[in-house]
């Protein structure tokens, strides 16, 4: 019972979602719409669960006097201030509210900067790993260099052929490979999904029987 019921719920939900795709009738589609909302609501409820986990980890660090516990206070302060401003200060959604200002001026710049680190890492990864060791590695390297040049104005200046070659690489060999991956991945997804729905693969509930 303890294992059968969740598996049964999983099966019913899965079969419904797979079958509704072929039934346009509003009676079915209305249920589908509603069910999608339910899934989103369950997801929203999980956020508090996640937040509890985050708080617990840092609370334990502080309690155990871990070396970096000062920074755990920073996490809790950041979290606490956003929750406070979001739930208890009015108009958290309004542009210019303290909640929004914290988001726009702390979270946004830090995340954007983290993202931009990629420019540096791409260069170091290319230098470190792009070696013409084998035929495959050489092809990867050459394709990368051509496309890199073909995407910027300087490529046009070096040779008119470069943008042409770029376009060709992107629309012929690249497209064929992408399609192959897409079809393969699609089948992998379907097989995995099917095994979940049928209860063949049950790692998600701790596996076993």
């Amino acid at each position: 019972m303890r294992r059968q019921l969740p598996l049964t719920l999983c099966f019913i939900a899965g079969v419904f979602m797979a079958v509704q795709y072929f039934i346009p009738h509003w009676r079915v589609q209305d249920v589908y719409d509603r069910f999608l909302t339910w899934l989103q609501i369950i997801f929203a409820f999980a956020f508090l669960l996640g937040t509890v986990s985050l708080v617990k980890v840092h609370y334990h660090k502080i309690r155990n006097r871990a070396a970096d516990r000062g920074f755990s206070w920073v996490v809790l302060a950041g979290l606490g201030s956003m929750i406070g401003l979001g739930f208890f200060a009015p108009g958290h959604n309004d542009p210019g509210s303290p909640f929004d200002m914290m988001f726009q001026n702390v979270q946004v710049p830090i995340e954007a900067t983290m993202f931009s680190l990629l420019a540096f890492y791409i260069a170091s990864a290319a230098f470190r790993a792009f070696r013409a060791r084998t035929l495959e590695a050489t092809l990867l390297l050459i394709a990368a260099c051509i496309v890199m040049l073909g995407r910027v104005p300087i490529g046009d200046l070096i040779s008119e052929r470069i943008p042409e070659a770029t376009r060709w690489i992107l629309t012929v060999p690249n497209l064929a490979a992408k399609r192959g991956i897409m079809i393969g991945v699609g089948l992998g997804m379907m097989a995995t999904a099917l095994k979940i729905v049928l209860g063949i693969e049950r790692a998600w509930m701790g596996g076993g029987d």
Partner: protein
């Protein structure tokens, strides 16, 4: 506007703190890292609560206002709003060891629901659509390459057969196509990433220091 300058300066200092990680891990980075983890976790908690739980559960079930119109549903609609709320609450059963097993109900529905969506729609969007697009007449070199490349890539992914003989040849062709594709993807990406760096440098130089003309 001094208000604006203060916020921009905070943003700039945090930006530089993150860049300092390129040199090595240091207290400035640690501070920015822990701060953004806390703030973003709080941000998403607030956003999801107000966008999903409040309009779909809190308002219709309890008739609460919560910054909007208080409409309490009745009859079937009331139950339809209550049930997902209860399912959401069941996630917290894990905190009570005796009832922890109940917490798997919402997970079962959630996992099953999305797994079901991974079946038929995927067949259409990922498999059939790509097959249709690649059902090309072999009348040009481009088309021949597309067909051969796709078949080669598909064969490369065969798991239950040894890649030998004709199969091996095709799998090899598949790898060649894959590698050229990956190279292209890499080269293409460089562009995006540098754009982001330009965006940040633009922020530091134009918005903060007013050095380069906006």
């Amino acid at each position: 506007m001094s208000h604006h300058i203060i916020w921009t300066t905070i943003g700039a200092i945090l930006t530089l703190s993150i860049y300092s990680f390129l040199y090595k891990d240091n207290p400035f980075y640690k501070f920015a890292e822990h701060l953004v983890v806390g703030i973003s976790a709080g941000y998403y908690l607030v956003i999801y609560t107000f966008n999903f739980i409040v309009p779909n559960v809190a308002r219709p079930v309890f008739g609460l206002e919560l910054g909007g119109e208080a409409i309490r549903f009745a009859g079937l609609e009331w139950w339809m709003a209550l049930i997902p709320g209860l399912l959401g609450l069941l996630l917290y059963a894990r905190f009570f060891p005796k009832f922890a097993w109940v917490g798997r109900w919402p997970l079962g529905i959630y996992v099953g629901g999305y797994a079901g969506l991974g079946l038929s729609p995927v067949m259409q969007a990922r498999v059939l659509q790509q097959m249709e697009a690649n059902a090309l007449p072999l009348t040009s070199l481009t088309n021949i390459l597309l067909v051969v490349g796709l078949l080669g890539t598909l064969i490369y992914f065969f798991f239950s057969m040894r890649h030998k003989g004709v199969l091996g040849v095709f799998a090899r062709i598949g790898i060649v196509f894959l590698m050229v594709g990956f190279g292209a993807s890499f080269g293409y990406t460089v562009m995006s990433r540098i754009s982001l760096l330009i965006g940040r440098v633009d922020f530091l130089l134009s918005d903060w220091l007013h050095l380069a003309g906006g």
